[in-house]
Structure formats: structure tokens, C-alpha cells
Subunit: 300 residues, 2 copies
DNA sequence: ATTTGTATTTTTGCATATAAAAAACAGTTT
DNA sequence: AAACTGTTTTTTATATGCAAAAATACAAAT
């Protein structure tokens, strides 16, 4: 009744591990595997036994050796390695995109459970965790009320985002010269330039690079609350990118240019320049988000 | 299996309602009672039937009338009107104060469930909700790891708190003259002055007035994320006030004076004065918190 | 000292069961 | 027909059950 996601995940990891070996090579001890694969010895042992049954390895009391190269189909499908909780999260986000619930809509645990084919307790636990994003609100003894991704929501989100990132960017500028963050920023700058050259076909890749960039800056704050808040931003952007396709290439190109200016400002370590570039970027990012919300509202 | 907290709470509320009536008066209809007492009609009906059995009221198909005045012992004890979830929260906070878990300590659901005399699912749901405060962290397939109320934690908390409140205070200053917040601020100012006069005996009341004051300011931000963050601040202060008793009167007196200066600055609507007073208050508040954490560390 | 075999105990993750509460439905009465 | 009450259906809050995974223990082997 617990699902076997951990077992399958560990199994796949062990296969990946075997792929690094040559036939005849000995495997690490159970305890070493345990820490390498991040599972309990109990699970490791179960996997090892099953791999022996499949003649992938041979276990002779003291030494385990690889017998044949694993094939692709020796692994479990990735979907089966997801925990129930992860699966529910995925389904819920997909459902949100499809059903596009509006402010005031009520969601009910039983209905979602039926729709997703999982138990109510799973749904309940997920909604409880998800509520930290303030997109849903519990009504005691009744259901959950959808708060809607409204213009107000976006503006409040951006207010905090800007507040946090201005602070983080300032902190970034004071990092010591040998901090790894500078190297990562250099690498990101290069990636931005490459993407800018290939913008015609690769403009979709921006969302990824955008997240990496802002996350890098926010991490410089060394503040768990600021870093944590970026989870919400990521979620919203992931969600929002799904429906705002108009002018995407043009918008992304403009954003890359802003990022490059922002990066240059960071390298200059000049607080005024940083503040200026950061604020400029946020103004256009906010406008993009807000206008796409308004569009969405007129569509539906 | 659901507990009868809602029933008992509604029962008590209905008793309170009856206390407003004279013997022989008719009660409102079920639907009116439903909205007055904030419960479903189902629950209202159950309570009404039970009150009839106890001869407090008489129900004649169409009209319900009060038969005798309710006595104090007709109500249920307040403790029984708490939901299971609320009870667990209370117990957990008490437990935290007593056990004073340190960074790295592991808490386990089963153990807490046994200790609190509730089911593991109740504990699990609570811990899930509580984790938003970042004081505990889930270890998948293992327990929960206590993060500890360390100096770092306090500093990060204060960084965000200051960032938010500076913003809120600035927003407060731009509220229109007729906003209720100004009246509430006036009232709070008076309360501060009264408390200052009676500081010798009433210094304990400061914690309450402190929360009201900062909450009022933060509400002016009109930002759900900023307002929400104050839940964490409240929790931490409630928790922290329990063990830092040294110099409490002196500290509170100083804080009241800072508040009064801060309030005056708000009334002046001068951004510079506000920023100055706000920052000054936070510096001493942070020092108080940090030094009491250090003290706590040396004690244990 | 590190590994493994084996057995046992504990704890987690998830599903299910059930009483309480809410919501929906259907008559009545005014 | 609007407001009220009686009845039935649906949903939530919580406890319980159980398989999977983790943790523990210890002797035997290298």
C-alpha cells in the first residue's frame, strides 16, 4: 500500500551505476552503494538480489561482480519512479492549466481524488502543501477556494520579488572575488550571448536560462526566506509561459538584452548601476506578466 | 471519528445567543441562525433538537421559543470546542518549548502521535502545514529534521521583516486622511502611553500591543505575501517571549518609547523620519532577539 | 575494521473506513 | 413564490490498517 517508487528509483540508479563499470568489475560494498544511491541498505539489498536473479550481476558471498551490460529496457519507466506525491503535484499543475480555475471557484478533494485516481489523503496532503503559494485557500469543513491568478496577485508577487532581488543583487556585488558565483555568472553571460545569436529557433530556451539567472542572484542573499520565495516565482512563470505565446520571441530577446545589461552591472559592482539595471528589468517583466493576464481574462 | 468540536462550538454559540433573549421570545429561523452562528443548517438542527431535549427551548413545528435562561454549566468547556488540528498545534508549540529541540534533531511522527494521544495522520498534516515556517524540514521516507531557532535563522528573519516593514511603513504614510488605519494608529498610540504609565505592573501586556502595532503597519502594504509573513514573526515572538525573561520590563519600556517615536514619525508622513524611526526600532529589536538566543545557547 | 547475512523492530506513505458536517433536494406552509 | 423545515446525498476530518522502506542488532566472514 505504499507504492514501490523508492525501490524502482533505486533499481534504476543501480543500473546507471553498473553502466559505468566493465564486465567482471566488482561492485562497491552495500554501505557504499547505500550512500551513493541514497537509499537504505534494506532497499539496496533487495535490488541486488533481483539483479542477480536477472543475471546482471553475480553475488558470491564476499564479492559482487558485473556479468553483462545493462540494456535500456532493464530499467523501469521513469513515470514509475515518481512517488505518489510527485505524481499528484504533476497532475494538479496540468489540471490547473486545462481547467484554468478562476477566483472563487471551489475545488473539492473527493472529486480531484476520483479524477486523478488517487486517494483523498494524497490530494489533501498536496493541497495543504500547495496552499503556501496562496493560490488556494482552505474553507474549514468545506472545500478549497481558488484565489485566482489575478492582476492583484501578480502585482503583489512582483512587489516582493523586486524587493528581494534588489537586496540579493546588492549582496551579490559584495561577494569576494573568488566566489564560485562569479564563475557561474560568467558562464551564464556566455549562455545568454549564444542564445541571443540563435534566438530565431531557440527562443523557447529562455525560460530555463531566466530561472537559472535569477536563482543565482537570489542565492547570494544567503537568506532561506528569500531563496524559498523563488519556488513560487518559478511555479508562476512555468504556469504563465504555457498560455502567453504572443510575441514570445520578441519578448525573450528584449529580456536577454536586459539580462546582459544587468550582468554587466553586476560585474561592475557599482550599486547604482545594479539598482538601475535590476529595476529596469523588473518593470518590463511586470508589464509582460500583467498584460498577459489581462489578455487571458478577455479570452475566457 | 471526526470529533464533535464543531457541534460543541455551535452549541455554545447558540447558548450565547439565547442569553440575549428573554423567556418566551421566539428564536430566529434555522437559516438565519446558520449565518449568525457560522455553521451548517445540519449542525444547527442537531443543536436545536438537543436543546429541546434539555428543555431550554420548545420547538413547535413552526415556532421555536426560549423556555428558561441558560446557566453557565449548560455550555461545553472551551477546550472541547477546539478542533483536533488546533489541539495538535497547541500541543506541538508547548512541546517545542519544553523539549527545546536543537538544530539537527529528528522528530518522528509516530512518537509525537503517541505522546499527544492523536493519530499519525493528524500529526503528519500538522507538520506539513508547520513546515512553511522553515523550522522543520522533511526527510523523505525518514522523519522531520528540526532546523533550530539559531542566530542565523533570527538574522534572516529580521532581514526580511525589516525589508517588508520599511515598505509597509512607507505605504502607511501615503494612506488617505480618512483611512481607518489612522484612527487605529491613534488608538494604539494612546494604549502605548497608558501602558508606559503602568509599566511597572503591566509590562507583560507589551507583547500583545507590539503584535497589534506591527500588524497594523504591515496591513497597509496590501500585499498578501507581506501580511502572511507576519504569521511567522508572531509565532517566533510568542515562542521567544517564553524563555527570555531577563530585563523584560526594561526592554519593553525601551521598545514602547521607540514605538511612540515611530508612531509620531508616521503621523508626520515624512518618509525620512519614518525610515529613521523604523530602522532604529529594528536594530534594537534584533539585538534583543539575538542576544537572547545566545544566552539560551549557553544555558543548554 | 569492514563487510555481509539474517532477523527483528520501527516508521513512513498511502489507502481505506467512518462519524460529523455540509450541501443538495424535496416537500410544506405561509 | 419566498421562506421554512424534513430528508437524503456528498464531502470533510480523523482514525486505522497495512505494505514498503528504514533503522537496528548482532553474529559470522573476510
Amino acid at each position: 500500500m505504499k507504492g514501490e517508487a523508492v525501490y524502482k528509483r533505486t533499481y534504476n540508479r543501480l543500473i546507471d551505476y553498473l553502466n559505468e563499470l566493465k564486465i567482471g568489475d566488482p561492485l562497491d560494498s552495500e554501505n557504499v552503494l547505500k550512500s551513493k544511491l541514497n537509499a537504505s541498505r534494506t532497499t539496496i539489498r533487495k535490488v541486488l538480489r533481483d539483479l542477480e536473479l536477472k543475471k546482471l550481476i553475480s553475488i558470491a558471498s564476499t564479492k559482487k561482480i558485473l556479468c553483462r551490460r545493462p540494456k535500456a529496457k532493464d530499467s523501469f519507466p521513469r513515470a514509475e519512479t515518481l512517488s505518489n506525491a510527485a505524481r499528484i503535484e504533476k497532475k494538479f499543475l496540468e489540471w490547473m492549466l486545462r481547467a484554468d480555475p478562476k477566483s472563487g471557484d471551489i475545488i473539492n478533494e473527493l472529486e480531484l481524488a476520483r479524477q486523478f485516481g488517487v486517494s483523498t489523503s494524497g490530494i489533501r496532503e498536496f493541497l495543504n502543501r500547495f496552499s503556501r503559494f496562496k493560490l488556494i485557500e482552505r474553507r474549514p469543513n468545506s472545500g478549497w477556494c481558488f484565489q485566482g491568478f489575478t492582476e492583484d496577485f501578480a502585482l503583489e508577487l512582483f512587489e516582493v520579488r523586486e524587493l528581494f532581488e534588489m537586496r540579493s543583487a546588492a549582496a551579490f556585488a559584495t561577494l569576494p572575488d573568488d566566489a564560485v558565483a562569479w564563475k557561474e555568472l560568467k558562464a551564464l553571460e556566455a549562455d545568454h550571448k549564444i542564445l541571443l545569436r540563435n534566438i530565431k529557433k531557440d527562443f523557447h530556451d529562455f525560460s530555463d536560462i531566466d530561472e537559472r539567472f535569477h536563482q543565482l542572484i537570489n542565492n547570494a542573499s544567503m537568506n532561506r526566506f528569500i531563496v524559498d520565495f523563488y519556488d513560487l516565482i518559478s511555479l508562476i512563470f512555468h504556469y504563465h509561459y504555457q498560455w502567453n505565446k504572443v510575441d514570445e520571441r520578441k519578448r525573450n530577446r528584449a529580456a536577454i538584452l536586459e539580462h546582459l545589461e544587468y550582468i554587466e552591472a553586476l560585474f561592475s559592482r557599482d550599486p547604482m548601476r545594479i539598482e538601475f539595471a535590476c529595476r529596469k528589468h523588473f518593470i518590463s517583466a511586470r508589464n509582460t506578466l500583467v498584460s498577459s493576464i489581462k489578455e487571458q481574462l478577455t479570452v475566457s
